[in-house]
């Protein structure tokens, strides 16, 4: 009985029960991400009333919206981070989290991703990278490995994948980490750190899609995909001493950056205070 399963599940209190069961396929990594996120919220004792979750379009966009019981904004394809920017400016004291997929955030939404990182706005982005457009039926993504088969690369993918974590780190984010769904405990720790960092934080989660990706690339069982992740994961400390050729097809995991930079909403509010003072416009409004 489905009901028994979720009432026994410790994190069920964080879920919107009327939206369950989830629409995710059996074996999908999305459940692992939702579980890791719920555990991070639980461990940090964040009140879900202090949380706004924003997502775009695609399988991964469903992970926390509608399933997570908080204010949730399910937006248009690729635009979650831009919507979240407006939410964060309006509610600078709340935790604003974007959970969405690679096609959504790094494909169509790539522009917003790098600019939010550049702006260093205090949003946590959990980017679920499953190398594929799952919901639309398994088309090639900007993250699909070179040579992989998809419905729109039936012979092989001749494009090179985007290294999301590196790009976002370079763009100026305060915190960037990458794990796979086979590194659950590390993932939870990173989500916790990302939620606590003041500034733009990205946790890229390499996640299995056995149905759309695995099945076309000789890994139709979820466990095969997890074994593939484990076998090819290289800790970032070790990767630093490896050549580009050696790292081809590997997943570099760990923390890419963890640094302090002036954060956007804080700077914006500071600017308002400066302007008010400069023009002699009096003190802060009572809330």
């Amino acid at each position: 009985m489905a009901k028994e399963i979720y009432t026994k599940y410790k994190m069920a209190k964080y879920l919107r029960k009327e939206a369950l069961p989830t629409a995710l396929c059996p074996g999908c990594g999305g459940g692992t991400v939702l579980n890791a996120f719920a555990n991070a919220i639980d461990q940090l004792k964040i009140d879900p009333r202090d949380l706004v979750v924003v997502s775009g379009i695609g399988c991964s966009a469903w992970i926390a919206s509608p399933y997570f019981l908080a204010d949730t904004l399910h937006t248009t394809h690729g635009r979650a981070i831009a919507f979240a920017t407006g939410v964060k400016v309006g509610l600078p004291d709340k935790k604003v989290v974007v959970i969405s997929g690679d096609g959504d955030l790094a494909g169509i939404g790539g522009n917003h991703l790098i600019h939010a990182a550049r702006r260093n706005i205090d949003i946590t982005v959990i980017l679920v990278n499953n190398f594929i457009y799952g919901m639309t039926g398994g088309q090639v993504a900007p993250t699909t490995p070179f040579g992989a088969k998809t419905t729109t690369t039936p012979y092989r993918n001749i494009e090179h994948p985007l290294n999301i974590a590196e790009v976002v780190a370079e763009a100026g984010a305060s915190y960037v980490a990458r794990w796979t769904t086979a590194h659950v405990y590390q993932l939870i720790e990173s989500i916790k750190k990302a939620l606590q960092v003041k500034g733009f934080s990205l946790v890229e989660v390499i996640s299995q899609c056995p149905v759309q990706f695995g099945r076309r690339n000789k890994m139709k069982e979820p466990a095969e995909m997890l074994r593939w992740f484990l076998k090819n994961s290289i800790p970032i400390s070790k990767a630093k001493n490896m050549s580009k050729e050696e790292l081809e097809g590997k997943f570099v995991i760990g923390e890419f950056v963890n640094r302090q930079r002036p954060e956007f909403t804080e700077e914006l509010n500071k600017l308002i205070e400066e302007v008010a003072e400069h023009f002699g416009l009096g003190g802060k409004n009572a809330d």
Partner: protein, 395 residues
């Protein structure tokens, strides 16, 4: 719970910053000041000619009233950000011109479906495509109405002067807040860049509308339902513990997605239309001149309405019985009124800076025995009084 910009000290602040009196400014600036008087405290935009002065004015003035300005990476992000901000209770606006407005269309539909109050300014310029980027035009009449996809209502207003730009912006916010719908301000590059005198009022003279908020947790459970029979649900803002779910997909009254039940879609989309139809009388606004004894009627909007008035006044001096009708609300179009006026005349002229757009809307309300003729001019130069007068004499 408060909505930013509604605090009592804001009135004093506005009085201090913009004392009432006569100012000399551009249409674009008047739109920005109108927004600030209307309570707008969040602006996200992307520069584009001839709308950039709105962004520049907002960037300079908003911090003074504790409002937020962000220059986003593109127009899609701009409208996305203002929708996000609106759900936190900030009155929000973006401004752009034709090409940017095209980019915003998907999220304009999102705002309609999620009943998010926002104001989108389109300072129309000459197109298609990059066209004459720096020249004014009136080519986006139907883009405002039908630019986004699916069955939907929209409200679009069009100012005819710099001072009118100030007041129509305030009206755009008020309609948007009251009806929980995005409102488009169809300005144009000519008025946007024209400088003339306008009177800035005392903030107390300005009627400001704020969105309805849920009175209790029970009401907040139905952010997309008809809890009080007004067809307009109260808006449970983010950050107040309501656990609201907002989606552009077809949703039930609770906000939860249901795209499989025809009845859910039918009920939602029909309510969206009905709430606008029900309030059509309040939304519709027009100006009439000499319509009592007219034989010829001129119908004109936006920038073309002023040379039209000039031409009608001159024609009257010559003894020609001509009247003028200026729709300030262009969508929903005041068709019933036009139908009533059209019965009185033998000819209708429609001057506009395009090859014929408003005239198609007018046509729906005019019988075949009335001569219906457009006076159209493209190329970036506004119609002149003489050009319109010549057509009035000739008809």
């Amino acid at each position: 719970m408060i909505i930013r910009g509604d605090e009592p000290e804001q009135i004093a602040l506005l009085k201090k910053l913009y004392p009432k009196g006569n100012y000399f400014m551009q249409g674009d600036e008047a739109i920005a000041y109108g927004a600030i008087f209307a309570g707008c405290r969040f602006y996200a935009g992307y520069p584009i000619t001839p709308a950039s002065e709105i962004a520049e004015t907002m960037a300079r003035e908003l911090p003074k009233v504790r409002g937020y300005y962000i220059q986003m990476e593109d127009e899609i992000g701009s409208i996305a950000a203002i929708i996000g901000a609106s759900w936190t209770g900030l009155k929000s606006m973006t401004a752009t011109s034709g090409p940017g407005f095209s980019l915003m269309q998907e999220n304009l539909g999102y705002a309609i479906m999620t009943e998010t109050p926002i104001v989108v300014v389109d300072v129309q310029r000459s197109g298609p495509s990059t066209g004459q980027a720096t020249k004014g035009a009136q080519g986006d009449f139907f883009q405002a109405r039908w630019g986004t996809h699916g069955d939907h209502p929209i409200v679009a207003l069009s100012p005819i002067s710099v001072e009118d730009s100030f007041w129509e912006t305030i009206r755009a916010f008020n309609i948007s807040e009251k009806l929980r719908i995005p409102v488009v301000l169809l300005a144009d590059g000519v008025i946007g860049h024209t400088r003339e005198q306008i009177r800035i009022p005392d903030p107390e003279e300005v009627e400001i509308v704020y969105r309805k908020l849920p009175k209790n947790d029970e009401e907040a459970k139905y952010p997309f339902g008809d809890v009080d029979g007004s067809l307009i649900p109260p808006m449970p803002l983010f950050g107040h513990g309501y656990f609201t779910h907002v989606t552009g997909s077809t949703h039930k009254e609770t906000g939860l997605r249901d795209v499989y039940t025809p009845e859910v879609h039918i009920k939602l989309v029909n309510r969206l239309h009905k709430k606008i139809e029900k309030h059509e009388k309040e939304i519709e606004k027009w100006k009439e001149y000499f319509t009592d004894d007219m034989e010829i009627l001129v119908i004109s909007w936006g920038v073309s309405a002023r040379p039209s008035l000039g031409a009608v006044l001159k024609a009257r001096e010559e003894g020609i019985k001509v009247g003028l009708f200026i729709p300030k609300t262009v969508h929903p179009f005041p068709g019933k009124k036009v139908k009533e006026l059209a019965k009185k005349v033998r000819a209708i002229l429609v001057p506009e800076m395009n090859l014929g757009q408003l005239i198609l809307e007018v046509q729906r309300y005019v019988n075949d025995d009335v001569i219906l003729k457009g006076i159209n001019k493209i190329g970036g130069v506004p119609l002149t009084v003489e050009e319109i007068l010549r057509e009035i004499r000739g008809v």
